[in-house]
């Protein structure tokens, strides 16, 4: 997918400025600045405990910053409910919860305004069904989620996030512990979705960074790098944790290729 060149008047859909988050006395994020453009596909990488999930949760409004500011479409996260679709780490779920695929997907149609004694409307059903169809889980709709494979559950959770009809899709390690085939299936879905919406994804998957993601944020308490997804050697050396990950996984050469002729890189 072609990315438009840097434009001075670019609209930022997410604007994180000087974000610092403390858990009790432990600093999880320190002075992070991050701007995300409309329809950007941003990958967030970094070592475990580097604050990746914390950053997502702060953007989603699930945790409040110790200092700094977050704006989603110019609004604080708590006011931007419904603009963001969230796909949490699927490995954290209790797989024995008594809920079917269909019920899970429909859940995205609820909101703060859902009345008492609610019943899902025909529209809700239609939206859920068409999304299940799109993500190839329609035939599984009556299954309890414990009877799904990892990839099927992940697609269920993506469908659920999409029934919110969000403008930004936020995913926390969507391909962790999936086999290669399920992984590429998920990425092809995300690539299609990216035509219509901004995607932010935390990942450990370096292959994905090289082939699907437009821009990259490398996080280890501080934001070490934010810019084009093709990292230069210099920057890799600055990021403790990340380079080990990169090299250890035998990343395709393309990631490390020298780049920067188009001015798309911006160090933050």
């Amino acid at each position: 997918m072609n990315r438009k060149r840097v434009n001075e008047k670019l609209e930022y859909v997410i604007n994180v400025s000087n974000l610092t988050v403390y858990y009790q006395k432990m600093c999880a994020l320190s002075n992070v600045n991050l701007k995300v453009r409309d329809r950007e596909f941003l990958g967030i990488i970094g070592p475990n405990g580097g604050g990746k999930s914390t950053l997502l949760k702060a953007i989603l409004g699930l945790i409040s910053p110790s200092s700094g500011k977050i704006e989603v479409y110019g609004k604080p996260p708590a006011k931007a409910l419904g603009l963001m679709g969230y796909v949490p780490q699927f490995t954290k779920f209790h797989r024995d919860f008594p809920i079917t695929v269909e019920e899970t997907v429909l859940m995205g149609r609820l909101s703060g305004k859902t009345p008492l004694f609610h019943k899902y409307s025909k529209t809700d059903m239609d939206i859920a069904h068409s999304l299940m169809d799109k993500l190839e889980i329609y035939s599984l709709r009556k299954r309890q989620i414990g009877q799904l494979s990892g990839g099927q559950l992940q697609r269920t959770l993506i469908a659920r996030a999409l029934t919110v009809e969000p403008k930004i899709l936020i995913l926390d390690e969507p391909t962790a512990s999936l086999d290669a085939e399920s992984k590429s299936h998920i990425y092809s879905i995300l690539e299609k979705l990216n035509r219509d919406m901004t995607i932010i994804m935390v990942t450990h998957d370096m292959n994905a960074i090289s082939s699907h993601v437009h821009s990259l944020a490398c996080l280890n308490k501080k934001l070490f790098y934010h810019g084009h997804s093709e990292l230069s050697d210099d920057i890799i050396h600055q990021i403790y944790g990340c380079p080990i990950d990169l090299i250890a996984h035998g990343v395709p050469h393309r990631v490390l290729k020298e780049h920067g002729s188009n001015g798309g890189n911006s160090l933050v």
């Binding site: 779920f93 995205g108 703060g112």
Partner: protein, 289 residues
């Protein structure tokens, strides 16, 4: 027993309160096993004893005392759960002990001959009075109404709190409400099975029902029906053998739960060995390359 049932008011009260308690326990029990709140519910239940003591001390209906104290404790435990990142087992354990101790303290401070507390600790379904029955019916109605009204939001909260918060469901409010409903359920059940034995009626019916259904609504319904079966059978056992009702019900529940668990294990083994056998057959049947 059936002749006496028509004859005696106290037996009718016992049966009605057993049914009401089973319904509340079926609904709330399903929720607490899915949300892993068994320990917290135990904490709330045991603080009820403090409330019973307070009731005696103030000279009001002990159940009303229990109602206030359990709601207060439920709010406290919900707040602890929300605010701290530390292991909540510890503060809950302390709530648990403090609640019981408060009960003993209040009883000691109450002038006159100390009342028999075993009714509240281990339940005595035959002592349910008309007034108790009114209170139990009202609380049961509140539990059923609240869960029915907020069913979808509650299910979303139980399944995935973070996602529910992101789409705008007021999860904090739902959590506090849920804890209050747990408190109300505890109060409903006190007379039937007693503070100490409540956990049996809260956890075993949904744990058994879960073997038969993958639907939260059906889980609640099946648990309630199982609860009714357990409490009424327990009541019958207690009446015929002349043993305390709370113990009869709790032991009967434990016995059935134990049997179901053993059957489940045997069934699973059977399925597994069958699968292995078919695999072996497949291997044998395959022609050599």
């Amino acid at each position: 027993m059936f002749d006496s049932l028509l004859q005696y008011q106290f037996l009718q009260n016992a049966v009605i309160s057993a049914i009401l308690a089973s319904i509340a326990c079926g609904i709330i029990g399903s929720i607490i096993i899915e949300k892993r709140l068994v320990m917290m519910s135990g904490g709330i239940a045991h603080t009820a004893f403090g409330g019973i003591g307070l009731g005696y001390f103030l000279g009001i209906e002990p159940i009303i005392g229990a109602l206030f104290i359990t709601i207060f404790a439920a709010m406290g435990i919900a707040t602890i759960k929300r605010k701290t990142t530390m292991n909540t087992d510890i503060p809950i354990g302390i709530f648990w002990a403090a609640g019981m101790s408060l009960g003993i303290l209040f009883i000691a401070l109450t002038p006159g001959y100390p009342p028999d507390m075993t009714t509240y600790l281990f339940g005595d379904i035959l002592t349910v009075s008309r007034n108790n029955l009114y209170i139990i019916t009202l609380l049961d109605a509140v539990v059923i109404f609240a869960v029915a009204a907020l069913y979808h939001q509650l299910k979303a909260y139980l399944f995935d709190e973070e996602f529910s918060t992101v789409i705008g469901i007021k999860t904090t409010l739902i959590e506090y409400l849920l804890f209050i409903l747990i408190a109300l359920t505890v109060v409903v059940v006190i007379h039937v099975i007693g503070i100490i034995l409540i956990m049996a009626l809260l956890t075993a019916p949904p744990a058994i029902a879960k073997l038969f259904t993958n639907n939260l609504k059906k889980l609640m319904l099946t648990s309630s029906l199982l609860g009714i079966f357990f409490t009424l059978t327990g009541l019958w056992i207690s009446y015929t053998l002349n043993i305390p009702s709370g113990a009869a019900i709790a032991l009967f529940i434990s016995l059935v739960y134990g049997m179901v668990s053993i059957i489940k294990v045997i069934m699973e083994r059977k399925v597994k060995s069958q699968q292995l056998r078919t695999q072996d057959n497949d291997l044998i049947d395959k022609p050599l390359p």
